[in-house]
Assembly symmetry: C2
Homo-oligomer: 317 residues x 2
């Protein structure tokens, strides 16, 4: 009988789910609106109902091996979501336990970037790798470190916050309360901040000046860069410079075979990959130069988060 | 019969060796002068002769389980020393292979800081830890990262160069060719540089001003600090600040249970531990605050390097 994992990706707006086989084919995907639920209990109750529906469609044709959940501030050891700023549920939410009320399958929860890293290892660009780093460039900068073929969760389950290493002492104010964190520069939000600063201080013409400040997004910056807009190109260069610096420091710690870029800003392709590679090589210690690949995610974009979450089930078998 | 590991610590000046039992008791220690040997072959030949002598003393009373070697720029995967700036042997030296000419035991080689980390895990302050960082504060800043109970060697065997993460962009010139590396500030050499800068720019009285520049060492600075010398105390504070910043970034990556400080500068005790703890906590992301211990090495100082090297034999059994 076909073996299937359930993948769940909890986001601030939507929670996506689906069934996934060992080869990474997804079935019966669906979603519910996360932000509609004031209480995590009600959220899990409705989500469990949806999952039971899609499981029943496959009934008799497959065995469910477990449930993998990727969530913001997810803690692998405790199966909890802890103080997630973008969710309505405050404090510590024992999410894995809530699921166990409805299912007998193993429930494995971790943060979304760690799930994406395991997804790359099971289905994606890191199938044969034992040492790599996955970096998600979205609203923030998320990160998962794999060393010796294992996820580095750390002592407390919260390892991998490369986005909160300080690259510019006393730099941009970060939501974490400190200043100069990498994610304030190298993320979809970061590049927008860079462009806004550049527009304020530059006399150069730019089609981005025609937009309202609040309408400038990383996608608009990408479009402008493709059209040769100098401010947009400079913003990608600066973003790649700081990302390259942050990655060079990470390489000095875990010496990975590759760094996989994932998420919204990584879709800008060469515009972000080229400066990141160039500056990372510049900042790297000699012994690491020309050894570390920077490659794009190989997960299907649409289902990447579901794939990542489901991958933990296979990894933990 | 008693099981014994051979520990060898190769330094620029001396190479120390000894027999070590599983509990960390050392026997029959000795040394030869590393820098006397122009060729690695001759060095290994003489060292093998010395080792055979001490093995023969124990003959019939113990079984040798293997040889562990800690060396500057040692590579675990290849058993090589690669481009070590402080040794006379240039390029890549296949040291483990040279030993195999003389012995049938397993030979395990890694860099000195990694060996020290494994030493702490087998005999020392990290016996029950699965996630910790060992930092040696000597001439440079060496580092070993343990995650999931395993050494992070990285893809190429050169992981753990926290000393070469950049903490001050365009800061002090480092021997590696780049600028602002952590070890230029947080090491025995780094604190001397800090004091020399402070003496040059400060009108304050200091007993360190009575010394010739070339006579200022980290030990002299420690003595001055104990006597209440303000420049010496400021230098420890600044060293702890940069070390605290570097460690905070490392914690964000591997989220360790503890950081163990080892080597010359760590012997300054509270003078280095207190500012390092204070500033690390200041720089830490909220989720890590008040969770990570900074503790001294628990290895016997005199034999620490031999212990570290021998520990790899037990770890790899």
């Amino acid at each position: 009988m076909k073996e299937i994992a359930i993948g769940i990706d909890i986001g601030g707006t939507n929670t996506k789910f689906g069934l996934v086989d060992r080869a990474g084919n997804t079935f019966n995907e669906g979603f519910i609106k996360t932000h509609q639920y004031e209480k995590a209990d009600d959220f899990v109750k409705d989500l469990a109902g949806e999952l039971k529906k899609i499981i029943s469609i496959q009934k008799g044709e497959c065995t469910i091996k477990g449930i993998g959940i990727g969530a913001p501030n997810g803690n692998y050891y405790r199966g909890t979501i802890e103080f997630a700023p973008n969710l309505r549920w405050k404090g510590i939410v024992k999410l894995a336990d809530l699921f166990k009320k409805y299912f007998d399958y193993p429930v494995i929860l971790t943060n979304d970037a760690d799930a994406a890293a395991i997804g790359e290892m099971i289905y994606g660009a890191a199938k044969d790798m034992k040492d790599f780093i996955l970096v998600t460039l979205g609203t923030g900068l998320g990160c998962g470190f794999i060393a010796n073929g294992e996820m580095i969760y750390g002592h407390d389950g919260f390892a991998g916050e490369l986005g909160h290493t300080i690259v510019i002492p006393d730099g941009r104010q970060c939501g974490c309360g400190r200043k100069g964190c990498l994610e304030q520069y190298a993320s979809a939000t970061g590049i927008v901040k860079t462009v806004l600063e550049m527009l304020e201080y530059s006399y150069r013409d730019s089609k981005l000046k025609l937009l309202k400040k609040e309408d400038i997004t990383s996608e608009e910056i990408f479009e402008a860069a493709k059209a040769g807009d100098k401010i947009a190109l400079d913003a990608f260069d600066y973003t790649g410079k700081l990302l390259g610096m942050g990655l060079a420091n990470a390489v000095a710690i875990t010496s990975p075979e590759a760094i996989i870029l994932f998420g919204g800003l990584s879709l800008a392709g060469d515009y972000i990959f080229n400066p990141t590679k160039k500056y990372m090589e510049e900042y790297l210690l000699n012994i690491y130069k020309n050894k570390v690949k920077i490659i794009p995610s190989a997960l299907n974009d649409k289902n990447a988060a579901i794939l990542g979450a489901s991958a933990m089930v296979w990894k933990n078998l």
